[in-house]
Structures are given as C-alpha cells and as structure tokens.
C-alpha cells in the first residue's frame, strides 16, 4: 500500500490490463479458442458435400462460402465475450471503472478478435484452396477478412451486450446481429468474386475500411451503453 499515492492511472493502463486479462483467459481455455475454428472448418467442408464436388461449381461459391462460414463462426464465439464476466460480477467492476468505458470495451473487443477473428483470417487460404479458389484471389480473401472480421466482432459485441442478462438467449443473438452484418458480407464476398473477374478493388477496400472505421468509433459506445442496460 505504498505506491498508491501516485498520479491517476492513465486510461491506457486500464486498457492494456483488460486486453491482457482477456487474452490470458482465452489462452487458459483452449477449447473455447479451438471450437469456433473447428466450426469454421466443418461448415466450409459441408458445402462441397451439400452442393457439389465439381471444381468449377466450388470455385464459384468459394468466396461466399468462406465469408458466410466466417460470419457464423464469429457468431458462435461471441457468447464468451461478456457472459462469464456478467455471471461472476467482473462486468460490474468494469462498468464502475473511472476510465472511459469506450476503451475498456474496445480492449475486450480487440481481444475477442485476436482469438476468434485472426485465426479465421489465417486459416482462410487453406479452405480457399480446398474450394478451388483461384490463387490470385487468396490475398484479396485474406485482406477483406482482415478488414471485415473486426467489424463482425464489434457489431456482435453490441448484440451480446444487449442479451448478456437474458436467461434463455437461444438464437436471439443471431437474429439481432446477423442482419447488421449484411454489408460486410456483401462487400467482402463481392471483392473476392470481382478479383477473379479482373476488376479493380479500390472501391471494395475503401468501403470495408470505412465500415471498420465507423464501427471502431461507434460500436464500443453502443456496447458500453448496452452493458449498462443489461446489468440494470
């Protein structure tokens, strides 16, 4: 109890501590880390089984398949974002921090993306190969996923924050969040499809970038407000 008389903690310290804590929890729960990734892999593998194993057919649906599967995998991993914190009371501690909630929620969202979004981005080329996506589209796929999956985490966070207090969440999270993610899906999948047609992609990237910037600046605020409503 000696060095507590120092100056007020910076927001950055609280941000970093929250990020570190959430990453630590994720590392200690490897199953939760792997499950969405396995889900991603399985869903993508279902498409050739359900649609056709014809390479040409698969090439056509490859981009959409990977994107839809990434969307569903992101949905599946979202539930972990605030639930444990809500149940054990850590969420109340977070809300009572004198630091701006925006940054604390942002830290949690970044941690969520690092453990659920980034692995999907890295795994995507393998799945793209299995779906006979042309090699020149790999980078586009990864880059659009890199820009798009954070948006999924940020939007999803609002939905989880709104539903975290509900006893029976069921599918309500997906019903709330999936319609919000339509623009990301459309732009991401279209970019991968358009690169195969040899079209310029500047527009696609700037639209995704704009969506990311918009959701980075607004979504954590909405999540923070939703968390306050949920603990009420």
């Amino acid at each position: 109890m000696t060095d507590l008389t120092g100056p007020q903690v910076s927001t950055f310290t609280a941000f970093r501590a929250t990020l570190r804590r959430d990453l630590l929890i994720a590392l200690k729960r490897r199953n939760d880390l792997l499950n969405p990734l396995m889900f991603f892999l399985i869903v993508v593998s279902l498409f050739p089984l359900g649609v056709s194993s014809d390479p040409q057919e698969l090439t056509r649906i490859a981009a959409g398949t990977v994107w839809v599967s990434a969307l569903l995998a992101s949905m599946l991993s979202l539930d972990n974002l605030y639930r444990a914190d809500y149940e054990d009371g850590s969420l109340e501690q977070l809300l009572l921090s004198p630091q701006p909630l925006y940054f604390l929620v942002l830290a949690k969202n970044i941690a969520h993306w690092l453990v659920s979004g980034l692995p999907v981005v890295l795994l995507a080329p393998l799945l793209a190969y299995m779906l006979y996506l042309p090699a020149d589209a790999y980078w586009t796929l990864m880059l659009t996923l890199l820009l798009g999956t954070p948006v999924l985490s940020l939007f999803g966070s609002i939905g989880v924050a709104l539903t975290v207090g509900l006893g029976s969440r069921g599918l309500i999270l997906a019903v709330i969040v999936l319609p919000l993610t339509v623009p990301v899906l459309i732009i991401g999948a279209k970019a991968v499809a358009d690169v195969s047609l040899g079209l310029a992609l500047g527009m696609h990237y700037s639209l995704l970038g704009a969506l990311l910037a918009l959701s980075l600046s607004l979504a954590p605020l909405a999540s923070a407000a939703a968390l306050k409503i949920s603990v009420n």
């Binding site: 009371g89 850590s90 921090s97 004198p98 009420n232």
Partner: protein, 223 residues
C-alpha cells in the same frame, strides 16, 4: 491510503447525499422519499427484510441501476455531473464477487485494481496475507472455496485508494476468522476518514459508531 477528506475544499459537504430517492420495481414501490447523508468517518448499515430493496439501493448509489427518481450528490456535486470523480473514489463489492474462476488470485486482483490504479505484486501478496490467503496468490480461483473467493475480493479493500466502500452482503461466506478480519478493515477505514455503506444480516461488532439506515422504516435510525 484513503484520501483524506480534510484535504478537500468541500469539507463541509457530506461525502454522499441522497435526496428524495424513489424506486419502483414491477409496480411495487421499494422506497420513496428516501433521504440520507453519509459523512467521512461514517459506517452505515443498510437494514431491511428480504426484498426490501437493499441491493437495489446500493446499486442505484453506485450507478449500476438507473431506474430511480431523485438526486444523488457526491461531495455536494450531482453525481451525474462528475461521474468520473465519484467512480474514482468508489469501491463496490457486490453479491457476485467479481472473481474470474479461470484466473489466479493475483491475476484477478491485478486487473480489477488496474481499472482504478495499478498495484505491485508485493502489495497483492501483502493484501492476500492480511485476508488470510497467504500463499494463495498463484492458485487458480476455481480451486478455492466460496469463502476464499470472497476473501480474494476483500483483498481489493486493502489495495484500493477509494474513500467510499459500498459492500453488499460481504459477510455471507466468511468464517469466524474472516468476519473478524473484515470488521477490522471496516473500522480502520472509517477511522482513516473513509466511509462505508454495508448491507448484512450479520450483527456487526465494531469499535466505532454504527449508523443504521432502515428501509422498512424509511429513514436513518441513530444507534
């Protein structure tokens, strides 16, 4: 160390003042026209039967519950006007202890303190020793009993510079020894110029004056 209210320019103001608080839940009025003041050095026990709104009152004071009418002041300033200053002086321990079961005691304390002000490992060890958890710093909380998890959260009392402690049933899972320790902590805190608001069904034995706020009778009862 709790910051000394003597250093504050608004020393004449009570730390916390509630004015005409009204709260209704599911069409049932929990309390209305509730007024009280909490001064530096006050230890106040909120009393009331089950369902009388003790927890709700504490959560309203902390800002976790917004479904109320009335005014709240921190050092004479409406809380909504400077919530940051209020939160910086507040430590709340709720029903749910705020201890993640996957993390160790140290990891939990490091984070929850960093939300207010970061602490060193030596401080954490000292605080855990004080609450009777010496040697438990690096034990995963899942492997602890409910009482031990409660003690982990109590260690935050020692690590926090907050002036106002709001404690919701902090005694429930504690053994005789833990109860003694906590009573000691409460007494020390109010002696050093802090203030405590606590709900408990346990009969507090503290060396300082204990004020009582009864929700059944609506108002402060001196004791």
């Amino acid at each position: 160390m709790p910051d000394s209210p003597a250093a504050s320019p608004t020393v004449t103001q009570p730390l916390l003042r509630a004015q005409a608080l009204f709260c209704e839940r599911d069409d049932r009025v929990l309390f209305s026209g509730l007024d009280f003041e909490l001064n530096a050095g006050d230890l106040m026990q909120v009393q009331g039967s089950n369902g009388s709104g003790k927890t709700t009152l504490l959560r309203i004071l902390c800002g976790l519950n917004a479904s109320y009418e009335g005014e709240l002041f921190w050092r004479g300033v409406p809380i909504d006007e400077d919530r940051e200053a209020f939160l910086a002086s507040l430590l709340y321990l709720g029903h749910r202890v705020g201890v993640n079961k996957i993390l160790t005691a140290r990891e939990n304390l490091r984070w929850s303190c960093a939300l207010h002000s970061p602490v060193s490992d030596a401080d954490i060890d000292a605080a855990l020793r004080r609450v009777g958890l010496a040697g438990y710093a690096d034990v995963t909380c899942r492997n602890m009993s409910a009482g031990q998890q409660q003690r982990v959260s109590l260690a935050r009392l020692l690590l926090s510079p907050a002036t106002l402690w709001v404690l919701d049933e902090p005694f429930t899972t504690l053994d005789v020894h833990g109860v003694k320790t906590l009573e000691g902590l409460l007494a020390e805190h109010v002696e050093a110029g802090g203030a405590v608001l606590v709900t408990t069904h346990h009969a507090l034995t503290v060396p300082c004056t204990l004020r009582r706020l009864s929700l059944d009778k609506r108002g402060v009862v001196a004791a």
